[in-house]
């Protein structure tokens, strides 16, 4: 692999605080991703293709698409995030960067949080930005599209956070991709339910503030708890190999 | 007894197939799991015993082997 094109993780000396270390990890991940642009594009293409399958496979009727458009977009976004999770730690695991990360003096869970945040910025955020276009294609009205984007904006970081646990657990295993999906999909269900439910409630004209607050609570919970689980899982996977 | 006759007990006023299907699947799976687990346990114990006996045979045979370089048939039982 083009190892020379991947910038090495800068040695983080004791004097660097955890915040600076997180920023360094984040910046590095973003830089690496932009040098391998295809990896960035693949989940987006996948997202568009899955959404395309529904009108072709079920029905192109406006009534059907209006009713199930939000659900289709949410499921497609969930699957694309799932697809991209395999890359979250894989390259770093293969070239040994991950071992260095574990050996840093800063707490591992903060570094994992930074990595996961970078993953979200690189996959979740583009999905959110793409969603309005696809929303128009499935005949959602303006209000629904706005709510949909809002739920995706709150929900996709949760997907990244929970997914990081699965990615860390299945690191270095054979058939890690399928296993990752098996482990993670059940945990994604609440986010999916509330994401689509909020849009449905908005379409019926119900106030959605409470639902959005609940999704925000999921996000807070995921951000505070999942880095610990991911860090523990990373240590286990690294001791395994 | 909540039923008048045995046939009424089997029929359960038309709900018999559902009730009995549930109980049958439950019995098959539970008993199957229990039987399978205990047979697996016995198989593991037996295979361990066989391995230990093999080891004992081979360790008791080894000094002779070292002295004479004769082939020693190790029983596979």
């Amino acid at each position: 692999m083009n190892a020379d094109r991947r910038p090495a993780l800068k040695p983080v000396s004791e004097s660097v605080g955890p915040i600076a270390a997180m920023a360094a990890v984040f910046a590095r991940d973003v830089r690496v991703a932009f040098r391998q642009r295809q990896d960035l594009l693949n989940p987006l293409l996948f997202f568009i293709m899955v959404v395309t399958l529904f009108p072709l496979g079920v029905s192109p009727e406006v009534a059907f698409l209006k009713q199930s458009g939000a659900g289709i977009l949410w499921v497609a976004a969930l699957l694309s995030v799932l697809l991209s999770l395999d890359h979250l730690f894989r390259h770093d695991f293969d070239d040994g960067t991950l071992e260095q990360l574990v050996l840093q003096p800063q707490p591992l869970f903060l570094l994992v949080l930074a990595k996961t945040a970078a993953h979200w910025v690189l996959t979740g955020l583009p999905l959110v930005l793409l969603a309005p276009v696809l929303g128009v294609m499935v005949h959602l009205d303006g209000n629904s599209i706005a709510i949909l984007c809002l739920t995706l904006l709150i929900g996709t970081p949760v997907l990244s956070m929970i997914g990081a646990i699965g990615a860390a657990l299945t690191l270095g295993l054979r058939s890690a991709g399928v296993l990752l999906s098996l482990l993670i999909i059940p945990l994604y269900i609440p986010v999916l339910i509330f994401g689509t439910g909020t849009v449905a409630a908005a379409a019926e004209g119900a106030p959605v503030g409470g639902y959005l607050a609940l999704m925000g609570a999921f996000l807070v919970l995921a951000v505070t708890l999942s880095p610990f689980a991911s860090a523990a899982a990373l240590r286990i996977s690294l001791s395994n190999s | 007894m909540a039923f008048d006759s045995f046939s009424a007990f089997i029929a359960m006023e038309g709900h018999g197939p559902y009730v009995w299907a549930c109980y049958a699947v439950f019995a098959v799976l539970l008993v199957g799991l229990m039987v399978w687990s205990s047979r697996h346990h016995q198989a593991v114990m037996a295979s361990c015993k066989r391995r230990y006996q093999q080891q004992e045979n081979s360790t008791s045979a080894r000094p002779k082997q070292a002295a004479t370089f004769a082939r020693v048939e190790v029983s596979q039982e």
Binding site: I162, I165, L169, T170, L173, R174, S175, L179, L182, L183, I185, P186, L187, I189, P190, I193, F194, G197, A200, A201, F218, L221, L225, S226, A229, A232, A233, I236, S237, S239, N240 | M1, A2, F3, F9, M12, E13, G14, H15, G16, Y18, V19, A21, C22, Y23, V25, F26, L29, L30, L33, M34, S37, S38, H40, H41, V44, M45, C48, K49, Y52
Partner: protein, 247 residues
Amino acid sequence: MWQFFHKLGSPKWFFGIATRFMPWLLAIGIILLLAGLVWGLAFAPKDYLQGNSYRIIFIHVPTAFLAQSIYIMMASAAVVTLVWRMKLADVFVKTVAPVGLVFTFLSLFTGAVWGKPTWGTWWVWDARLTSMLILLFLYGGAIALDRAINDEKSAARAVAVLVLVGVVNIPIIKYSVEWWNTLHQPATFKLTEKPSMPVEMWVPLLLSVLGLYLLFGWLACLRMKTEIVMREQKTRWVRELVMAGRG
């Protein structure tokens, strides 16, 4: 206290205790379960709303109850695995997960069959059925992860992390599924349980729950013993035990 804890963690000690208790667990479990089921099937009065189909409750509730409590037990053992690295906890999580899977499947199956005469359909996306289905996925994931990792220590700890993440999620899943259910369905599909169940109904139910619990204890002991023998083959006490034909 700590001495007791260490003893509890010792596979040898557990093996002895399990061997001593297993016949009792099996005998009392079978008696209670059979008593509960026969009572429930033949002697309990029929439900005035659902007729005789409600008799499925005497296996549906015990299996559902166990399916959930096995997952909670696995989560507690997972904490022990991660914090104290106790061998027995690893063995427990690993060997009990398939049992939990079977009980979850049974409760789903009996729920579906019960639904046919009661609701007129095999499957409804009822909140309880759906969250049991998700529990089935969680069990499946734990078993799949355990099978995928070769090194048994890493496997145990990875599964422990997964089970703990799952147990944090279970209340969230339950809540969200219930919310989703009220959003999507008119409340016609409610399992009508009278607030006060007559004594002739809940006593057999209690008996079968207890019986199944004891049988689960027996199963867990047996399966843990098998796993211990496989793992501790090289130790002297297992060797002596196996050669003496005990266990």
